[in-house]
Symmetry: C2
Subunit: 450 residues, 2 copies
């Protein structure tokens, strides 16, 4: 029920991909090496089934776009399927379909990722395809216009028709005053309409190269065989230009509480989401990101959380509540909580109840017993994630594409277990100041006038 909230989309926009925060370290022997051209490779053997997941993570996302060019990272993700001199458009998709495989791609604020899950005997062809389009993409004028129409339609269907998505966009744009996380990954409509071939080629030439990517292969494979295949395919791709340090404009200090209100006749039940910008794992002081993850678990991480027990079960004033922390982002990202009133109760009551629970942690801390329970649930979720091959690949890819190491992943459960109640109270007090929060309100309205 919690995860089905209409507000998930709202929260989503405040967050970049956080898949890695959901998953777990492998106990199998993970092999990690770098090719001469700078491509980092991770191999995660997993022999339970004769399948292999092959992913290329480019260290570029929408937060790396030039001002005025929003949407170019995601647009280029689409254009990457338009073919090369050696492999015309559609050839890879047909092969994957023939062998019963699966392929997809996605763009976040920080990364652009291409992946296939296939039988091991076509892994070499996947590598050949991906290596070929890493520098060899052919972009003609006629594919640009047609594909731009496709991404514009994607924006219309995902954002323009959805009050939740529109509110999410404008809440993110309000939460971030300086950092490019304020800009939607799909792009602002009026800027997407202007994207052209020159923009796409410039972005591709700059960011698509072996020295700006991480290759992850997870599944029924031998690491040494993967290394040989990688050298024969990706190893042939020339190194790209050296990129400057990946430093985006950072946020100023905040002094204000801000709100964003969308009133829309399509909204049935009111809801709200309140967020703060908090350090991600990459940039946090030691222990703080782990404490924020556990704080999120204790406050709003499911049926055992304080929000659910106190506000939904005992007080009966909310139908949905939750909290989430986006520790997987490259730069500081969001800690968010949300609520939906139950029956005749008002949104203000739910807000006050959630605020009271936050204040309770700030003032009185958490108990050792509930922290232990939260750690157990969290570490168990990491272990469960091992059970799915693609989620393991996701964990490693996301972590390594964000400057992390294999050890960061394998030591994660121990770092979670080391968090103290004092650390949880300290991050709540430090980061969840109501005077500097950003709140999005989604309200019903009878018509478009007010």
């Amino acid at each position: 029920m919690l995860s089905r909230s209409a507000l998930i989309l709202t929260l989503g926009a405040l967050m970049s991909v956080s898949a890695w925060a959901q998953a777990a370290p492998a106990e199998t022997e993970v092999v990690n090496f770098t090719l001469d051209n700078g491509l980092e490779v991770v191999v995660i053997p997993d022999r339970r089934a004769p399948i292999v997941t092959h992913m290329v993570w480019y260290k570029v996302g929408s937060a790396d776009e030039l001002p005025g060019k929003s949407g170019i990272a995601h647009f280029l993700e689409h254009l990457m399927f338009k073919g090369t001199a050696r492999h015309p458009a559609g050839e890879m998709d047909r092969l994957i379909a023939e062998v019963g495989g699966y392929t997809n791609a996605f763009t976040t604020k920080d990364v652009t990722v291409y992946h296939q899950t296939v039988p091991p005997d076509v892994l070499d062809e996947m590598m050949d395809f991906e290596a070929d389009r890493m520098r060899g993409l052919v972009l003609t004028e006629d594919v640009i216009g047609a594909e731009r129409d496709v991404v514009l339609e994607e924006r219309r269907m995902r954002v323009e028709v959805s009050p939740q998505a529109l509110l999410a966009e404008e809440t993110a744009a309000t939460a971030y005053q300086n950092h490019p996380y304020r800009i939607p990954t799909i792009g602002w409509l009026h800027e997407m309409e202007q994207l052209n071939r020159a923009d796409a080629v410039a972005f591709y030439d700059r960011y698509y190269a072996p020295n700006n990517a991480v290759l992850v292969v997870s599944g029924d494979v031998e690491p040494e065989a993967v290394r040989e295949l990688a050298e024969d395919t990706y190893g042939m791709v020339p190194r790209g230009p050296d990129l400057p340090p990946r430093i985006r404009p950072s946020e100023p200090q905040y002094d204000t509480a801000r709100s964003v209100t969308l009133s829309d006749p399509r909204v049935g039940v009111p809801s709200f989401a309140r967020g703060w910008i908090t350090p991600s794992y990459r940039v946090a002081e030691p222990g703080e990101a782990e404490a924020l993850d556990l704080l999120s678990e204790i406050l709003g991480g499911g049926l055992r959380s304080r929000f659910y027990q106190e506000i939904v079960v005992k007080a009966g004033i909310a139908s949905e509540v939750g909290a989430s922390y986006d520790g997987g982002a490259y730069d500081p990202s969001s800690f968010t909580m949300f609520g939906v009133p139950q029956g005749a109760h008002s949104l203000e009551e739910v807000e006050a109840a959630i605020d009271a629970q936050v204040l309770r942690v700030i003032e009185d801390g958490v108990t050792p017993a509930e922290l232990d329970a939260a750690k157990m649930r969290y570490v168990r979720s990491l272990i469960f994630a091992r059970d799915e091959q693609a989620s393991m690949a996701n964990i490693y890819g996301s972590r390594l594409a964000n400057d992390g190491t294999v050890d960061d992943v394998t030591q994660w459960p121990d770092r979670i277990r080391a968090v103290t109640p004092e650390q949880v109270q300290a991050v709540a007090a430090r980061y969840l100041d109501p005077k500097v929060s950003v709140t999005g309100y989604l309200l019903p309205s009878d018509n478009g006038a007010q």
Copy 2:
């Protein structure tokens, strides 16, 4: 009383310089020409007193800064006083002081301006100085650190100590989601601290050149003599690099009402300011900017305005009210209104009263009589502006630095007079939608905790 409101600073941050919107066309013969190196020159003869105002307007402001380099435009304004090979630091200031003159400089979102008001017999020396530092500035490492401390102190004194200024900054950062007008001209503190010599030199080399500037000379001078002086001084400065079209990232469509709240123990009486982003003169459809100027005059332009008469005088619930329109910006900028409650009346009452007045214009329009009165007041203010030499120079410099022409200035009163009541109602309905406004609240608080 209105103009002394504590909220002026709040409003100020939503606005870029609007000096030209306050002033008037000259009836004297204005002479306008361009030197071979691209420097545009305007001479405005005014022989009432033996003084001359000399201004150089560079077409660069804080909205032209690179992401992450906020404050560099203003920092460079300071550094421009650090001397050249021919004229060491302080020489110009000493000369101006000796002759009883006056000198200053300022930076806005759109322009950086240097001006002197002096006796005509030292105009040639002013021109020599300004032409010399247009490309000849010498920036050594040792002046950088010291002057950075000066601008950091300026930020502390102007912004950090002032709840009004802090609220103004964060309201602007909330109002603009994509356009660089969201960034304060003085810079974000953490980015100012990192500004260095390389940043300053790069900015100077790119933007300080005759082909990116407008020279304005107003006063007791002969246009032909000014032309000869200009050719002998500025004419010797080599043309700078060609700059690309000045296109900043523009705003997406808005769907939400947003608010920013600062609670501070230093605040005595609560107040609020509500703004919308509206087209400036440069980009508005014909007649819309003039109608917005008159709408601002009718709603909140002084003691005769609807806000003042209805809310302060008749209802007695506000002590201060006002409205302002920033038509002089390069890109779309703000239309703002504000209010302060009187006695025991609440901020909510004042807000509701102001909203009701706006709604009244949207629904019922304005009367021909009050529009005529507003036009008369507006045009008279343009005429009064002629009385001060420096404000005439300001009008022309600001207009020409924003891609305008001398005719734009001289025809302005006629364009104001041509506005119809229907046009005023139409811009109110089109631009002042309460569903997409941004409101800043400045509230007292007993302590720093809530």
